[in-house]
Amino acid sequence: MGLTATQKILAAHCGLAKIRPGQLIEARIDLAMGNDVTAPVAIREFNKLDMGVFDPNKIALVPDHFTPNKDVKSADNCKFMRDFAWSNNIAHYFELGEMGIEHCLLPEKGLVAPGETIIGADSHTCTYGALGAFATGVGSTDLACAMATGKLWFKAPQAIRVVLIGKPQRFVSGKDIILHIIGLIGVDGARYMSMEFCGEGLRRLTIDDRFTIANMAIEVGGKNAFFPVDDVTIEYLRSRVDRDYEVVTPDDDAVYERELVIDLSRLRPTVSFPHLPSNTKMIDDAKGTAIDQVVIGSCTNGRITDLRIAAAIIKGKKIASHLRVIIIPGTQSIYMQALDEGLIKSFVQAGCVFSTPTCGPCLGGHMGVLAKGERALSTTNRNFVGRMGHPESEVYLCSPAVAAASSLTGFITDPADVSAGPDATNKQAEAAL
């Protein structure tokens, strides 16, 4: 019986030739990550252990959730994490001017390579599976133990095999693909399982599309996502990772719990209605819903391709009156790219605001919190009750193209219905990379 790619990576990290699904293992960790919400809790647990950090070069701490500090309590948390990072010589601590949203930042900084095992005290750590790594979200106590010992316990997962075929239509992005899958299998459809992607449709996906898809594996309860390494991956890694890494592929006879075949050519832009990511509708059934605020950004859709698609639709136009449009680049580097390419000018001239990188509004933290009865259309990842503010506010999830098109009208809009320039497609955005 063969192994999935995830099972092979985990086996290699616990020194076993084979592992079986359900087996409890202790695996070696290549990188442990925390943020300003989860790391302070982890550090207090870590301090109970009377042990040093296992390797200051294999820990990353990113202040991104309530930063720039939104209040005194957040400032105290950030200071606590900063003091820990400095006193323990943590190599990958990112201060405000060089920071970014953790799941945009770590791959960009070359801290993720194929075949590695990465844990993060943030549920969207599964993002890094886009690069052929095993990466999974854990809690703060897990992070504390990983920082102390360099190891962590796991239950070896079963997997769902997702076969992507066909060519996506115009304005169908990675976000639409993963929202479609979430709608198909439900918010616990991959609970405790890996989602391993394959198929000829992969070559149509930019690396940013793959990050977006992997990012939302947690929204079906998944432990991790895995994309095979191909030319697109290697091109992304070339200027970022100079250490040796191992490209892992699933065995030909790997056993999967379930197989999904997704024909990308049949998908349409997709929107998740409140209050579950699985409550999806295709754009034809979603359009027309009035909105108060648009957010384009987050660890899901704050990358340069996302900003390029949005800017191509918004450039030279004005956003709808009475609408608030907040655009947030994932990292300082993406911010600079957007500046160099004139994207920021297009956004601001249209009436959007352009923020410093932060998780802020995605979790109702700051920089765009919703009032009672307000409705946001957002490229973020969750639309649970109260997610972006008041418990009686609503969040609709969508792609950057749908968010940008809706910014011009004030209601949920099919990007095909607003006159967009010829460059407002995935392919053109990719060519511009």
Partner: protein, 171 residues
């Protein structure tokens, strides 16, 4: 779990499927992590009156996929800080499950969780893995913990487990 806590007894607070960590402890309160701060806002967005009604020993009961969403350990910490003795659900989201085990909050997977209603008096025997619904006169079986997780809960969480093992290695 030590010997004196091998049973729990309390009244049930029943919720549905997919209780997410955003309603267990909304992110607007994650700028601090003290137990009293978290306890004051536990379940606020799904049951605003919860913190006024809950008493030490009471039990939260959910449907499927309890604790889905973010990795915030603040969620089981908030529940534990309210004095809740156990969470029972048909199934748990995986990060919530890890976090609960790691901080020593007992959680039980039980196929019959839907049979329990709010206000039922529940008694749990962790040694035998049985849940007795005293209000309805029913007894439910639960999934036993794997040995490794049972040891973590027995010593009060993962930090204690690591500390004990580290001492063992030094000998």
């Amino acid at each position: 779990m030590s010997d004196n806590s091998s049973t729990a007894r309390g009244y049930a607070f029943k919720y549905g499927d997919n209780v997410d960590t955003d309603v267990i402890i909304p992110a607007r309160y994650l700028n601090a992590s003290e137990a009293s701060h978290l306890a004051a806002h536990c379940m606020e967005d799904i049951d605003p009156d919860f913190i006024n009604k809950v008493a030490p020993g009471d039990i939260i009961v959910g449907g499927g996929n309890f604790g889905c969403g973010s990795s915030r350990e603040h969620a089981p910490l908030a529940i534990a800080a309210c004095g809740v003795s156990c969470v029972i659900a048909k199934s748990f989201a995986r990060i919530f499950y890890r976090n609960a085990i790691n901080i020593g909050l007992p959680i039980l997977e039980c196929d019959d969780a839907d049979s329990i209603k709010t206000g039922d008096l529940i008694e749990i025997n962790f040694s035998t893995g049985t849940i007795t619904n005293q209000t309805r006169g029913d007894v439910y079986k639960t999934q036993p913990y794997p040995e490794f997780m049972r040891r973590i809960i027995e010593v009060g969480g993962l930090i204690n487990y690591i500390a004990i093992n580290a001492m063992g290695n030094e000998k």
